[in-house]
Subunit: 887 residues, 2 copies
């Protein structure tokens, strides 16, 4: 005879945690807690095999199921000392679905099953609270009618609204026992009207109705779609859990509460929790009554005069503390526990690993290693890499007052306050004098870089998570809120209007880049602490990971920060950023404006010395590590002035007339600059630019290795290659130039030449391209743009629609699209390595700092990821986790 | 003993056509002609195996090579009756390279080898023309020094210029025998100075020098790069051809000419050609003397009073006609033959399949089938699909008034009108702006090619039917009148004077390349006649091909034209083109400007009736055939006004203020519209647009099938899909809307829903997407843009650089990139069909009308291609050829 039903509760169970496939996740956990000897309200689980058999046999149950259920009910009755449907002492149960994994569309919980016109009276008597009994009854009728019988919810809500209106009530709490009694009759009546037959009064009919509903919900459309999307076979089936109800609101010897075995906010190893005397579970969470502290110590710390549970129910508390120890020891993690005390008896309703803040996660994980509770590997897997971000930036003091104006996108984490300024130049001026500013722009452009650097934070009204402002701010570690569309920024009047309020030039505002909030005035912040536990965990991560972590950086400040955060080299130095400095942009423009090679060469010769100096500084900071320098990438028109007066300045400085300058700018205009004359296409058209840059890199590398006696390994990277021939031509140019410089110096220097793989064609042709490349670096920003056909700068317009419609699970510019873009990365790696076995392969898009993407990079066998300095620790931990998951 | 050297000539040969791998292309053909009994100047071929042995053995020749060469020289001497290096009767030879396929970088021809200070005198005596002899000698010294000895060309040019200056000569023709004699000594002197040793007087030393040079050129950089790019192994090697010289300029019993076995312009089955008495081969081509007709008939037709060869040299002509018959019968194709008559003896120098106009190609191919010379399959392969273009274009209306200025040679058929321009650069400039020009030149050179391409037609005052202008124009399908000697072209003044009239720069003229007429002003044209041979060939093509051919069209005019050209449906109807009409753009703008759904729906309801009417017209024209309608694709801002005054008009019409309108336009601005809020992204954000379009399509289809009693099968196509979910949502929307319309009508209607595959991600995810699509249409324009990361609109800036540097063999927007984009197409087809076996797959980019791309589409198993109406016949023929090539 097949066993279809497994009992559990109050100290023992027929199942256990390992029987999740048979009992479902919930059933297995209830069994596990019971086996631990914990006081779990008794109940039973109807197995997933019943579900499978049900659908295999034309929706009929196994013959002996009814008998086994009846037997199990009897077991509960005996344990609890109550009888299902009894007129004096009725047993009430809950019915819940529970598959191996939870999924949408499955039947909602039905509580208080077993109530009818007779048992409700018994409940009133037993609890001494008629109001409670009838409120429970009408809730049961509504819930059961909706979930099991398919009578729509709003029909009952209407009756309640009418009753309140007629009686002049506003809140539910104003209704008394008689009101609920009247309503429960009205609800029953309404159900009968809708159904054409009476609401079931037979408790066994109620029970089987609920069981049918759980199994029926397994095959509804929504659940089937979900399973198809997640590759879950329909044959897994769901289990049904039937469990006796317990009540924390039957008097002053009753209570209900929520507890954590450690402090989920700080991670401190002390019990933490709240409880309420004579209350239902939802009262603690709902915030209608202020809950009391669990422990005496916390009560004192909070300065509360309401007694703690430790004080008011010392025996039950001791029992609870014992449960805490058992559960944490058993699950080897901080637990989040729900409990109820019914007439002096403690019941444990649920336990699960508790959610925690990043500092708490770190502290708990490291301390549990110290206490030999978990291994180093487990500790590494316990901390969410993305959460480390919170630890690296100043955060707002949670206790400080916030006058929130609006919310934009959390584009770059951290909090900052400062005077509102509207131009990059002003930001720089005030910062020079030591002032704190927030740079406010409709959107930013490369011309704003110096101002973004000078500002404490950046706020834009347009642009998404990967807009220029967001990307640059993250790279610099500046807090940024982008796309705050509710702001009306008037650049002329220098005002921000939002919700009827006006923020003026030089008013102080605060932004929180971790949640997107924009606040009026200054809000106090807390500085990050990077020592101790943080350092220890990072050390463990470095031992585990095989993926190297580099940084995307070009300024000395960013490079130093990244090295402090543990970067193992530079994976992407964007040389164009070096061109925007005020003292050199004029030479850059000179170069662009020249319509002949001679003119370009003259301007480039001036740029040579400043570029060389840039590289000398960078190489000095990064000594001993590899530095990948990307040759000029953006279209030349990006360096041109935007405004009339700037045009005039440039014309004067260059000694050409304005009309010529504007015509040249017009000529350089592009419809789709992202797909335009940029990247290696510039190198093909104007080889003298790449020649200058190569010269600057090699000369700097020679000088630094002479001065410091320690070599840098420059890796010269050609952007936007789409075919072997492009790289063949530029590789030859670079090697010729570098060779000449090295020969002239009489020294020796190793360097590499490689390419970005950032176009679909480059990934497909990687086998050919690898003939000319010593390394590949996947530029997943551009690769995402071209694979999806979506411009980062313009995607904000429809991204929301796409996320809402579940078309994208995540913004593909934030987390690598592993199906589409990822397939191209895999193809690129495979084909590249097939041609050149020792090809070094990395990634340098924004994705290099996204944990899921880092794991992907590890799986496809990349050598390194490169990310913005502040994401280096995140990548280090994510890489360690990836290595552990693959073990 | 290995045979290294193969003799040929004058009626027999040791090799034959099938020995191309051993003898190279040229050597094998010379042998073949000899075997046919034709009078080929005797010579020998040194095999490609010598080349291979040479490089395998450290650049040394096989031991017995010298002896075999000496023997073969002896054979020539015996045949010709002259001796190599003889003081009385010297044998002169040419030396040429000749691999299996011709390739750049290989050694140029050396002519007149065997001349020295002694033999030149003998040549003078034998020819009776001392000027000719010394001119030949100095040419030989210059050519040999340059090609074999590496003395640069310009050094000799300088000497010639100095001599002319000192003697007051302007043209080379002014120099006499003494001048050339003097110069040949000076050339020898210069070569000695440069080389450090005398110019070789020993004829065997000359010969081996030339042989060395041929083999040496096999391994020069340029040839090696070419072979690598074309996958030609270095081991193929090159052969060397040594052939006795013949001269057509030794007196009035000498002649030289070029002939075709059929008229290359019309295809008429009549000998066709030109010759010159007492001339060198290059004189005929160069256009310095106007050549005479070959046959009496053609002389009379041309109204020439210069005797034809048939009249002036009847016996030789008869011999030549015999050769024509033999060659055409042997090669089973119209032949282009070069011949020389030396002192009454006919020599055949070369034969090859003759280049021909499209009408000629068509006529010859079809007539050869009728005459059982070739099969239908061969005929289909004989016509270049792209050349059909020429047949589809207009000719002059015979009834229109013609103001004929003069008559030249009918060098390339077709009629054209345009502004007179005198330089290629100007032709290109004006054409870029959309202007029609006729390029007028005294004669053309390779430097004019870009201008000839840009021009509507070409007119020259000098040069025959085989002049540069004529040959190139025929190849390009441009009308051309050549050798219109009555025109006095003044390049300085930019005028043409003819019969007392002056045509000025930018005046309009018309040329008729079919009869040679040059007319003032514009003359009306009529549509081409597509019956007869054209219809017959197309019928054969349709029987062979398996690929269907549809058209890209949305106007009734284009659709009708395409149906006449044989389109089997519409593969792409771009609905947005329908939005630009003046009477509806205002409603479109209304829709765009609305910032809420209600406003958009109001505007859309007005558009519904006009869209429905569009589809009714289209479906009526296309009745019985499938019509693929693409839902709205471009970003909305494309419909907005550009200019200030237009903005004002729209604001007035809409009754909104200008500032609002401009702000909305500003909001819609995109940095990279190609990658922006367009395609199905519009459908996701504004479902009401796609809903309206679906309604219009289905209502129109219902109406047309009721009215005509013949169904159309609308295929509703969603653009720019990148993931399954997008299409899932829109498919549901379309089916819901269509279902409602059909249900309301009470009729039945079949329709399909499918998608474009135009993003790399769509191709990669095709397996998923096919779950929601009944058909795929590859949008290879966008797919090329995203795969390469290149915007079509901006690529012009660097495309030239890329073509020059051989990075692209062809503009990837013209001919499909089969490696990169093609791989994605293959992947898309495979994965799509794996999910849905009966998935209909086509292509609707510009590539659908490019023959190479059509062949690719056939190979990867597409169901159809769709192209612009005028390219439909091209695609039909290309599809037939693809099927034949695969057999």
């Amino acid at each position: 005879m097949t066993k279809w039903v497994y009992n559990f509760g109050d100290g023992s169970a027929e199942g256990e945690a390992s029987m999740k496939n048979l009992l479902g996740g919930k059933g297995a956990n209830l069994a596990e807690m019971s086996n631990l000897g914990l006081p779990v309200p008794p109940g039973f689980t109807i197995t997933t095999e019943v579900c499978t058999a049900f659908y295999e046999n034309n929706k009929t149950y196994p013959d002996d199921l009814a008998e086994q259920v009846a037997t199990s009910i009897k077991v509960i009755e005996d344990t609890v000392g109550a009888k299902f449907g009894d007129e004096e002492n009725p047993l009430l149960v809950s019915v819940r679905s529970g598959a191996r994994v939870s999924m949408p569309g499955m039947m909602d919980t039905v509580l208080n099953l077993g109530l009818n016109d007779v048992t409700v009276e018994a409940l009133a008597k037993k609890s001494g609270d008629e109001r409670f009994a009838y409120d429970s009854y009408r809730r049961f009728i509504q819930m059961y009618s909706d979930v099991v019988l398919g009578v729509e919810h709003y029909l009952f809500e209407e009756l309640l609204e009418i009753h309140k209106e007629e009686n002049g009530f506003v809140l539910d709490t104003e209704l008394g026992a008689e009101d609920w009694k009247e309503l429960s009759q009205a609800f029953k009546q309404k159900a009968e009207e809708e159904l054409g037959h009476p609401f079931p009064q037979d408790v066994n009919e109620q029970l089987w109705g609920a069981i049918d509903a759980v199994f029926g919900s397994w095959m509804i459309e929504r659940a089937m779609v979900y399973r198809r999307l997640h590759n879950i076979p329909h044959t897994w089936g769901t289990a049904v859990n039937v469990q006796s109800m317990v009540f924390g609101n039957m008097g002053d010897d009753c209570a209900t509460g929520v507890a954590f075995t450690r402090d989920p906010s700080t991670g401190e190893n002390a019990y933490y929790g709240e409880y309420l005397i004579n209350a239902q579970g939802e009262d603690v969470v709902a915030g209608i009554r202020t809950p009391q502290n669990l422990t005496k110590e916390s009560r004192i710390a909070a300065g509360s005069d309401m007694p703690s549970m430790e004080e008011s129910m010392p025996e039950t508390y001791a029992e609870l503390a014992d449960v805490f120890q058992k559960l944490e020891a058993h699950y080897r993690d901080m637990q989040d526990i729900e409990f109820t005390v019914q007439q002096g008896k403690l019941w444990i309703l649920q336990t699960r690993s508790g959610k925690r803040t990043a500092p708490a996660a770190l502290k708990i994980a490291v301390e549990m290693v110290h206490d030999n509770i978990i291994s180093v590997d487990e500790a590494l897997l316990r901390v969410e890499p993305g959460a480390l971000d919170q630890l690296l930036h100043p955060t707002l003091d949670p206790d400080a007052h916030r006058d929130v104006l609006t919310k934009g996108l959390p584009a770059s984490p951290g909090a900052a306050s400062g005077k509102v300024v509207f131009t990059a130049d002003e930001a720089e001026e005030i910062a020079k004098e030591g002032g704190d500013v927030i740079l406010v722009r409709i959107e930013t452009s490369p011309e704003d870089i110096h101002g973004m650097h000078a500002a404490r934070g950046i706020l834009t009204s347009r642009g998404g998570m990967t807009s220029h402002a967001a990307v640059v701010a993250r790279g610099m570690g500046r807090p940024c809120v982008s796309g705050a569309g509710a702001l009306h920024i008037d650049m002329q009047e220098k005002t921000i209007t939002v919700g009827g309020r006006v923020i003026r030039h030089h008013d102080i505002i605060t932004i929180d880049g971790s949640n997107g909030e924009v606040m009026a005035g200054e809000v106090a912040t807390i500085k990050p602490e990077l020592g101790g536990h943080f350092g220890e965990l990072m050390g463990w991560a470095d031992e585990k990971r095989t993926l190297k972590v580099r940084t995307n950086a070009e300024t000395p400040m960013d490079s130093s920060a990244a090295r402090e955060f543990g970067a193992e080299g530079i994976g992407l130095c964007r040389t164009e950023h070096m061109f925007f400095d005020a003292d050199r942009i004029i030479d850059v423009r000179h170069m662009i404006m020249s319509d002949n090679e001679k003119g370009r060469r003259d301007a480039l010769s001036k740029l040579l010395s400043v570029q060389r100096q840039d590289f000398i500084e960078l190489f000095t900071i990064m000594k001993g590590l590899p530095v990948t320098v990307r040759l000029l990438d953006p279209p030349l028109h990006e360096f041109l002035p935007q405004k009339e007066e700037d045009f005039l300045d440039v014309a004067n400085a260059m000694g050409v007339d304005l009309a010529f300058l504007k015509r040249r700018a017009e000529e350089l205009h592009e419809f789709n600059p992202m797909l335009g004359h940029r990247g290696c296409r510039l190198g093909i058209s104007f080889p003298e630019i790449y020649e200058m840059q190569t010269r600057a890199i090699i000369e700097a590398a020679l000088e630094v290795s002479q001065t410091l006696g320690e070599a840098v390994i420059p890796e010269i990277m050609v952007p936007l290659v789409g075919s072997r021939k492009e790289l063949e031509i530029l590789n030859a140019l670079i090697r010729k130039t570098a060779g000449e410089v090295i020969e002239t110096s009489g020294e020796k220097l190793d360097y590499m030449v490689g390419t970005m793989i950032e176009l679909p064609r480059a990934a497909l042709q990687a086998g050919e391209i690898a003939n000319e490349a010593e390394f590949f670096s996947f530029g997943t920003n551009d690769l995402t743009q071209t694979t999806y056909g979506i411009s980062r700068d313009d995607s904000a317009r429809f991204l929301d629609d796409y996320l809402k419609a579940d078309i994208y699970e995540q913004d593909p510019f934030v987390s690598l699209d592993q199906d589409g873009v990822g397939e191209l990365v895999r193809i690129g790696v495979e084909r590249g390595r097939a041609t050149r076995g020792d090809l070094k392969v990395g990634i340098c898009g924004e994705h290099g700092g996204d944990p899921a993407s880092v794991e992907f990079c590890h799986r496809v066998g990349l050598d390194y990821v490169s990310c913005s300095p502040y994401r280096v620790p995140i990548a280090r931990l994510a890489a360690a986790q990836a290595a552990l998951k693959q073990e």
